[in-house]
Amino acid sequence: MIKVTQISKVYNAGRPNEFTAVREVSLTVNLGEVTVLKGPSGSGKTTLLGMLGCMVRPTSGRISLSHREITSLPERFLTQIRRETFGFIFQQFNLIKGLTALENVMAPAYPTGEKFATLRSRALETLALFNLAHKAAAKVEWLSGGEAQRVAIARALINNPAIIIADEPTAHLDTKLSHEFMAIIRQLKDDGKTILIASHDPIVYDSELMTSRIELRDGSVVTAGSLP
C-alpha cells in the first residue's frame, strides 16, 4: 500500500521561475489495484508518478510504503526500495541503444549482485514470456515498436516488483499495439501486481481493467475514486 499525505513538489524554489508541479496531494493506492492517473499534459501526473515510485523526493509531505515512512530516506535506501518494489515502463520505452534486448532486461538487476548465470536465465525466461526469446541477442534499435514495448515491460519485471508504474505507455503506440499493451496489463493484473498508469489515452483510462481513477489538473487532485 502506498499512502501519500499532503505531498508537494516545487521546482526552482525561491527563484523567479518557481514552479509547483504537485500541490498538497493526498491519496492511497491499495495493493492489487489498477489505478490510472488522468489529466492533461502539465497537470503533474508524471511528477506525482515519480514521487509515488520513489524516484523524486517531495518538497514537503509524507510518503509511506507498506506502513514504512520513506520520505526522508537517503538516496541509496530509496533506490534499493525502488529497485525491489517498482517496475517502470516509460513513455518512449527508454531502452539503452547499442545493448541487446537481453542486456537491457538484465540492467536493472546488476546492482543487486545476483550471479550472472541465474540472472541471465531469469532474463531469458522473462523474455520468453513475451515471445521474445528469439530476439534476446538482437540490438534493441533493430526491434519493431511492439517488440521494443515488450522488452521494456520485461525489463520492468526483472526484479519481480510488486508494483508496476507506467508513464503514458501508449503515447507512441498505434491502436493495435495499444490494445496489445492492455492485454499484457491484464495478464500482470491477474498475476497480482499493483499497477499505476498515467495516461490521457481513452484506450487506457476507459479500460474495464481500471479499478480506480485519479484525475489531476494543475498539480491538484480533481476527482479520485474507485471505479465500479
Binding site: 524554489a13 517531495p58 518538497t59 526522508s72
Partner: protein, 331 residues
C-alpha cells in the same frame, strides 16, 4: 630545488589533491551548517548529492596517498647521491627540517583518511545519516593536516640544495663534515623483540576475542595503534637488520629496494592496512548503540577486525621469517 621528474610528479599530485580536499571541505562546512534530514528542499537534495562527491574525493585521496607514500620514499632515496654523507633515504630526509615531518604527516593523513572512510561507510549503512555531523567535523580536522602535508612537502623539496660541482672538470670541496645522520639511532634489540612479540600476541588475542564475542573492541583498536608504532620501532631496531644481514644497518627504507626483493612493500602495506582497519574497529565502538546502526555495525566491525588480524598476521610472518630463518645472528 632540484628539478627531478619524481619531485615534479609528487608536487603536482599533492597540489591537485590539496585543492580537491579543500574543495570538499568547503562543501563539508556547508553540510555542517545547513543539513536538515527532514527537509525535502532543493538545498538539502543538493547537499545529499555533495556527500557522494566528498566521499569519492576522499577515497581517491586514500589510494593516491598510498602510492605517493612509496613514491616519496623512493624519490628521497634516489636523491641520496646528491648529498654528501647521505647513503639512502634516511640521509636525504635530514637535509632540511621538513623531511621527516612530511613523511610523518603522510603516514598520519593516510591513517586518518582511512578512518574517515570507515566512518563514512558505517554512516552510509544507516537510514538517517546518524554520523553526518561527526563525520564532517572530522573532515574539518583532517583538511588542515592534508594542506599542511602539501606545504611541508613543497618546502622540503624547495629547500633542497644539492652538493654538486659547477663544471664537470672542476672540483669543489663538499662539506663532508656537515654530518647528515645516515644511520638512525635504534632501540635496544632484546627488549624490543620482547615488546614486539607481546604486542603482536595481545593484538591477535584481543582481535580474536572481538571477532568471536564482540567484546574488547576498544582494546583491540588501542593495541592495533600501538602495534603500528611498535612495528615501526622494531623494523628499525632489529627486523631490518635481519633482512639486510648487517649488524648496524638500521634504515627502514632500503627494504623497499630490489636487493631485498621489494619485501618492504608488502610489509608496509600490511602494516598500514592492519592499523587502519584495527583502529577503525575502535572508532566505531561508541556508535554501536545508535538504533539505525545497531543492525549493521557489528558485522562491519567484525569484517574490519578480521582484515586487521590477517594483515597483522602476514606482517608478523614476513617480519619474523628472516629473524628465524637466516644464519645471521645479532646477539
Amino acid at each position: 630545488m632540484i628539478l627531478n621528474p619524481s619531485i615534479l610528479a609528487l608536487l603536482i599530485s599533492s597540489l591537485l589533491i590539496a585543492f580537491m580536499v579543500l574543495y570538499s571541505a568547503l562543501y563539508g562546512a556547508q553540510i555542517l551548517r545547513r543539513w536538515d534530514i527532514t527537509s525535502g528542499s532543493e538545498l538539502q537534495l543538493s547537499l545529499e548529492r555533495k556527500t557522494y562527491l566528498i566521499s569519492t574525493i576522499l577515497s581517491y585521496f586514500l589510494g593516491i596517498q598510498l602510492i605517493s607514500l612509496f613514491l616519496f620514499i623512493f624519490t628521497v632515496d634516489s636523491l641520496s647521491p646528491l648529498f654528501v654523507g647521505a647513503m639512502c633515504a634516511v640521509g636525504t630526509l635530514t637535509v632540511n627540517g621538513f623531511g621527516y615531518p612530511t613523511l610523518l604527516l603522510k603516514l598520519v593523513n593516510f591513517i586518518l583518511a582511512g578512518l574517515w572512510l570507515i566512518i563514512n561507510h558505517a554512516d552510509n549503512a544507516g537510514y538517517d545519516y546518524p554520523l553526518i555531523r561527526k563525520k564532517y567535523l572530522f573532515l574539518m580536522m583532517l583538511t588542515p593536516l592534508i594542506l599542511a602535508e602539501s606545504t611541508l612537502e613543497l618546502f622540503y623539496f624547495l629547500e633542497m640544495k644539492p652538493d654538486i660541482i659547477t663544471s664537470c672538470c672542476g672540483s669543489l670541496f663538499s662539506p663532508a663534515s656537515r654530518g647528515i645522520a645516515s644511520e638512525i639511532a635504534a632501540a635496544p634489540v632484546i627488549p624490543m623483540k620482547i615488546i614486539f612479540a607481546v604486542t603482536m600476541g595481545l593484538t591477535t588475542l584481543s582481535g580474536t576475542i572481538f571477532i568471536l564475542k564482540q567484546r574488547l573492541g576498544a582494546l583491540f583498536a588501542t593495541l592495533s595503534g600501538s602495534a603500528f608504532i611498535v612495528s615501526l620501532v622494531s623494523l628499525v631496531s632489529f627486523i631490518c637488520l635481519y633482512i639486510y644481514e648487517m649488524p648496524s644497518h638500521h634504515c627502514p627504507f632500503c627494504i623497499l629496494q630490489r636487493e631485498y626483493h621489494y619485501i618492504g612493500y608488502p610489509l608496509y602495506a600490511c602494516l598500514l592496512l592492519g592499523s587502519v582497519t584495527g583502529m577503525g574497529v575502535g572508532v566505531l565502538v561508541p556508535f554501536r548503540k545508535i538504533p539505525s546502526l545497531s543492525a549493521t555495525l557489528p558485522g562491519f566491525q567484525r569484517r574490519l577486525a578480521l582484515t586487521s588480524l590477517i594483515s597483522w598476521l602476514i606482517f608478523t610472518i614476513l617480519a619474523l621469517r628472516p629473524v628465524i630463518f637466516t644464519t645471521f645472528r645479532l646477539e
